[in-house]
Subunit: 221 residues, 2 copies
DNA sequence: TATAACCTTACGGGAAACCATAATTACAAA
DNA sequence: TTTGTAATTATGGTTTCCCGTAAGGTTATA
């Protein structure tokens, strides 16, 4: 497991949970900071002292206070660190769940994992640490769509609407009526069948139940 | 406040936070162990010496190491202790947030409080200690649904398993086969239909799709 | 032992979903 | 206008789900 880990987050209490996960995974030494600049300096010093950190877990947003900072966000920190030390593993741990942001950090800034804070955040953080340790990448399911462009890009508002109606307990017949009432086209039973069939294939679902379960896990509805 | 408290958790650092909370609440003597077996022996010894502990705060998961253990989880420890010493107060302090687990420990095993580790874990732990000291129970807000919902009280592991299989895309026929293969009874198609019908009524679901969507939202699966 | 209450399983009819194919419509390019 | 393509709708057949009824089995209690 990782030898030297740095946790960067401006809220002390959140750190506590992250530290818990790290210790349960037997990380050797774990340190934490509450400012991006501190994170940068600690990592730089680690390299100079020949005892580099091999993992950074950082938040994205840091509230400003009296201390003047060079790095105003986790994103700037990631950019600078990945430029100087490309081999340093970085896991983003943030409430931010916009796909655009995730895509930017993973694809352009080469972060190694992106975990959304939330009810399952710590569990996913564990998986992320595991994955990154195995030279793999990880992103939370709810924002996984950000990387697999093909699937998510083909899904439009109509599909989402369809899935929502379906998950609300309407039969395909009732969905047809509902769409007709709202003057949404296409609305025929046959078209609805076709769309749902396409979605089932896209998400590798066995049936409509499975489909709804999958898209719910992905946070699409 | 409590006189004699035992904290059981395999991660030293978490203990530190718990001890801090206990101190701030003026608990007299606080001791800690990192193995379930040690916790059991200490509590047993306390009773034999006429100086019994009056509160146990324990984790659920303990990673295995070289030491052979009789109790492999906090759950087993709780069951044993509550059987022998029903009056001993027990607070669960765990990352586990599945409602099913919470329900089992609170309702069946008669734990006195359930606190989820996490960002507000220590704060809630304080509240839990307070509540238990007043002969009350406590569960973290995020899992409070486990106790409050009348409907979910009647839902057992079989039902959860059924819903999981259903959400994994298995047809009722396939579920029947799966249960037979695992020697789980009942397993007939007819019984599965009946159980699912009952669940649909309980959760006011129109059909199986709706049912899965609802229980997913509730966090039951 | 008898009885009642409940659980499990079996069966059948109707509804909805699933699947393939064909007919119709809409629309852009020739 | 004609033609070709794609989207939408329609149709029929098969499977699965939904729902009632009923037969056999188990358990608790008198």
């Amino acid at each position: 497991m990782f030898n030297k880990v740095l946790v960067s987050d401006d809220l002390g209490s959140i750190n506590q949970g992250v530290l818990t996960v790290l210790e349960s995974m037997r990380a050797k030494t774990v340190q934490q900071v509450q400012y991006c600049d501190d994170a940068y300096l600690k990592i730089k010093k680690g390299y100079l002292d020949q005892t580099p950190y091999d993992l950074l877990i950082t938040d994205l947003s840091f509230v400003k206070d009296y201390r003047e900072q060079n790095f105003r966000s986790g994103e700037e920190l990631v950019i600078a660190l990945k430029q100087e030390y490309p081999e340093l593993k970085i896991i983003i741990y943030s409430v931010e769940d916009r796909l655009q942001k995730v895509r930017l950090l993973m694809n352009d800034h080469k972060a190694n994992a992106y975990v959304c804070k939330g009810r399952r955040g710590l569990i996913e953080l564990g998986k992320a640490i595991e994955a990154v340790h195995n030279e793999d990448i990880f992103v939370s399911p709810q924002v996984a769509a950000a990387l697999s462009k093909k699937t998510s890009l083909e899904i439009d508002d109509f599909d989402i609407n369809l899935l929502k109606l379906l998950s609300n307990g309407l039969s395909q017949d009732e969905i047809s009526v509902s769409l007709k009432n709202n003057n949404i086209s296409p609305s025929s039973l046959s078209s609805i069948e076709k769309k749902l069939n396409k979605l089932r294939i896209q998400f590798k679902a066995n049936n409509a139940i499975h489909l709804v379960a999958i898209v719910k896990d992905l946070g699409l509805i």
